[in-house]
Amino acid sequence: MKTALADVYRPEGALGGDDVWEMRLYIAGQTRKSLAAIANLTRLCEEHLQGKYRIEVIDLLEQPQRAQGDQILAIPTLVRKLPAPMRKIIGDLSNTDRVLVGLDLRAR
């Protein structure tokens, strides 16, 4: 994969206005961790990416075949499809700092 420096590190504010963040949140049933992850993600997006994000919640209990595509092992897993490169964050997203770092919304 060819990666330009700009793709790897994209600090907040360097985002173009038209960029839409596409994210997938994988869960397996309505568990406590899943519900926490959904709530945390929604809150973060509203705070940092208002109006330019799209979240798809995938329940693997309903769509087990989708686990293969994004190589999902841990639940919950958040996958940032866009902007590239792809990012994976596991856990219930309760550690906000690490989520922001993981999503490149904050410098590492």
Binding site: A36, A67, Q68, L73
Partner: protein, 585 residues
């Protein structure tokens, strides 16, 4: 093994087992892996863990109608398919037939940020989905340890692994989990902690530059199993585990006797030759004609229309055929006619176990009624005495179970005791023929002994073994006061005996004559002595007469003297004489 080994397939008692279809493995474990439970297969890199798992799945799918799933954490589908294509496993085909499913789980730690609590439900969902997609009864996880590298929180991971194994058991799938060998532990990440039913250890060791793989069942709960280390091979058609005693001693012995092709040797062997399916050891020092003797056995078998498989480790096929022609045995028609097959290779080309497996495969393929291994001593170059002996034991067991006569030649070292060496296999042999040189008189001649032959009255005599263009001849040896004589010495001895007999006769006559002469001499001597005695006697008579004459004359002289002295001679004389005698004066 405590259970009788002739129950094949062994009746599962207690634990139900899933046969792996891996050659030899099901015998060791008496049926295979524990059905519906996880088994840990551990070993260092390159020892065949993945292959073991794959063969378990492929055999399950093709032979036991149990579809299988492989969840690979290390190799992707293409890599796996390519790796086992050389073993004749067509994974693509099996996948197309819905008998196999491959799921490649790839995780890179660099992609993952941990932001809170999580579990491995994703993996469980994937496994469940994979298993359900074809109704898999078997699953291989290769290798779970990749998860430790991928996921940051070991605490969560361990808890989840414990749950995973529980879950696999609940699903009732027969699982194989591979694990990398760790220092001082079975696996690097301690996976053995979670798998308590069955643990199999694979190892690869290099000895004398020959690598051999070994398999050991470390643990198998609820079943008896072979605890030995079993060598195993990765061959063109999969894994072969070679259990030392897989066949046991339950083979049926044949009463049929087969000729050795040498009538006098048959005569030495109870008059009828060898038992079919027995093991024969031909031993001797270099150049004693072991190969020639085996060529006779081979020719005799081929003449009966039987197939012979000949493993030659010293000579090429054409060389053997040429050499045997020189003693009047033409093997070429049998080779051309497909009755005789030569398998020539240097022993050092492969490891011992590879040789054994090669022999197994060739025997399976060719279906001979006699197998010749010429010589077994060359195996010593690639294994210790114990290993060679163990390998030969398994080979002999194998041949006996098929009622194949095994002929093994063995080179005895010059310095060693003739009856010692033979790589400690003589006890495995039913018949042992020893060819040795009998030296003397500047010649070396061959002597053939039947050291043992089980189940028959065999000859205890030495025969002189003569190789000529007429072939092998067994002659009586001369056994006399000067020891055992052969060859020219035997001929010489026979001539000498004749000469000696002649000589003894002449000597007798001479002695007779001498006696006669002595008798004549003695008689002459007696005559001479008698003559002498008579002469002496005659002389004595003369002397005594002379003496009387002398006395008479003396007396007369004295009288004459007295008369001359005018004395009363007679009285005076008497008086003086008395005085003198009394000594009283």
């Amino acid at each position: 093994m405590s259970q009788p080994v002739n129950e094949t397939p062994p009746a599962p008692r207690g634990i139900e087992k899933a046969p792996t279809g891996i050659r030899g493995f099901d015998e060791i474990t008496q049926g295979g892996l524990p059905r519906g439970r996880p088994t840990l297969v551990c070993g260092s890199a390159g020892c065949g863990k993945t292959l073991f798992g794959l063969e378990f799945l492929v055999r399950g799918a093709t032979q036991f109608d149990e579809p299988g799933a492989i969840v690979s954490f290390e190799e992707n589908i293409e890599e796996l398919t390519q790796n086992v294509a050389s073993l004749g496993f067509d994974l693509d085909e099996l996948v197309a037939q819905k008998k196999l499913v491959i799921d490649y789980v790839h995780v890179e730690r660099s992609e993952i940020e941990e932001t809170g609590e999580y579990d491995l439900d994703g993996l469980f969902v994937r496994l469940a989905y994979t298993i359900d997609s074809i109704g898999a009864k078997r699953i291989v996880l290769d290798t779970l340890e990749a998860l430790f590298a991928a996921l940051p929180n070991e605490g969560i991971l361990r808890a989840e692994l414990r749950r995973l194994f529980r879950w696999l058991k609940d699903r009732g799938v027969t699982a194989v989990i591979t694990g990398e060998r760790g220092d001082g532990a079975l696996t690097r990440r301690g996976l053995e902690e979670y798998v308590s039913d069955c643990v199999i250890l694979l190892e690869q060791r290099v000895r004398e530059r020959v690598a051999t793989r070994y398999l050991r069942v470390v643990k198998y709960r609820g079943t008896s199993h072979g605890t030995n280390e079993y060598p195993f091979l990765v061959q063109e058609d999969g894994i072969s585990v070679l259990p030392v005693t897989s066949l046991g001693l339950t083979h049926v012995a044949s009463d049929e006797r087969i000729s050795t092709g040498i009538p006098r040797l048959d005569a030495m062997l109870g008059g009828k030759g060898l038992y079919r399916g027995s093991s024969v050891l031909l031993s001797g020092t270099a150049g004693t004609g072991k190969t020639s003797l085996s060529a006779y056995l081979v020719a005799a078998a081929c003449k009966r229309g039987e197939r012979v498989l000949y493993f030659a480790f010293e000579e090429s096929q054409s060389q053997i055929i040429r050499n045997m022609r020189s003693i009047g045995v033409d093997l070429k028609p049998y080779v051309d006619g497909g009755l005789l097959r030569y398998q020539t290779a240097r022993p050092t080309l492969f490891g011992l176990e590879m040789h054994l497996a090669t022999i197994h495969r060739q025997v399976d393929e060719f279906g001979p009624s006699m197998v010749v291994v010429d010589p077994i001593t060359n195996f010593m170059a690639i294994g210790s005495e114990l290993e060679v002996s163990s390998m030969l034991m398994r080979l002999i067991d194998f041949l006996k179970s098929r009622l194949i006569t095994g002929v093994f030649t063995s080179l005895t070292g010059g310095g060693n005791a003739l009856e010692r060496t033979d790589v400690g296999v003589s006890s495995l042999m039913d018949t042992w023929l020893l060819v040795r040189f009998l030296e003397g008189n500047g010649e070396r001649n061959r002597g053939l002994y039947v050291l043992k032959s089980r189940g028959m009255q065999h000859s205890n005599q030495v025969r002189e073994y003569v190789l000529s263009e007429r072939g092998i001849e067994l002659l009586d040896v001369y056994a006399g006061s000067s020891g055992v004589l052969t060859g020219a010495a035997r001929l010489a001895q026979e001539a000498k005996e004749r000469a000696e007999a002649q000589l003894r006769l002449q000597e007798m006559e001479r002695k007779q004559r001498e006696l006669e002469r002595k008798r004549a001499l003695l008689e002459a001597q007696i005559a001479a002595m008698r003559a002498q005695f008579e002469a002496e006697e005659a002389e004595m008579t003369t002397t005594s007469r002379e003496h009387a004459q002398f006395e008479k004359e003396l007396s007369r002289d004295r009288e004459d003297l007295a008369r001359a002295r005018h004395a009363d001679a007679a009285r005076d004389t008497t008086h003086v004489h008395v005085n003198l005698n009394g000594g009283a004066e």
